[in-house]
Symmetry: C2
Subunit: 123 residues, 2 copies
């Protein structure tokens, strides 16, 4: 398609699927956590996740996991043991993201050097 102005449809709402995506996995940690859940074969414990998504705080990790659970992307399993054990696992729907997320990861690895570290923000 030459010109992308082909779409005559007015999109008052959120037409762009990627707008929806950033709403679903908003925040600094959602994607890294989700990725870790997905690439992990089987359940993973809270502590392990925290080490993986370094240096996330407990509070943040808990919040993000609950959000992922609420969206049907993660499963939370509590074992009535002592010391406590809670395991998380990606749902089948979440696992379908594996290809795209690895695509992003590959892109970063490939261009890590050439990517201008640039300012995190603009003043």
């Amino acid at each position: 398609m030459a010109r992308s102005e082909a779409s005559p449809v007015e999109h008052p709402g959120e037409a762009c699927p990627l707008s929806a995506f950033v709403n679903i996995v908003a925040g600094k940690w959602a994607i890294p956590i989700l990725y870790r859940l997905i690439v992990t074969d089987g359940p993973i414990r809270f502590r392990e996740l925290q080490r993986a998504a370094h240096p996330i705080t407990q509070k943040e990790l808990t919040k993000q996991l609950r959000l992922l659970e609420a969206r049907g992307l993660a499963i939370r399993t509590v074992y009535a043991e002592v010391p406590p054990r809670v395991e998380y696992e990606a749902t089948p729907v979440a696992r379908e993201l594996i290809g795209a997320l690895e695509g992003l990861a590959d892109w970063v690895r490939t261009h890590r050097d050439s990517l201008a570290p640039g300012p995190a923000r603009l003043t």
Copy 2:
């Protein structure tokens, strides 16, 4: 970031590439804008982008575009005309994201219904 980095060990292999990714394209609008730049074949004007990335404000769009430019993901071209015309275009590096981003978009389209709309945040 971590002000008091007490971690004694450097993490070999650096952090998760996806942590780097969310740092690069942080914010509510970076990914949708980038996607629009990429799927657009050729330059696209400021106004068009604003219409595409739905209810984004001028300020936000300008800021995000400057950030993308600073990171080597977008090219900005100013034409000394009146009325002013400024065109943006994705760089080759940015275009390499096309596959992964469309993967994300497809995932959203596929599961749009089954995805629990859920609360945007947790209280």
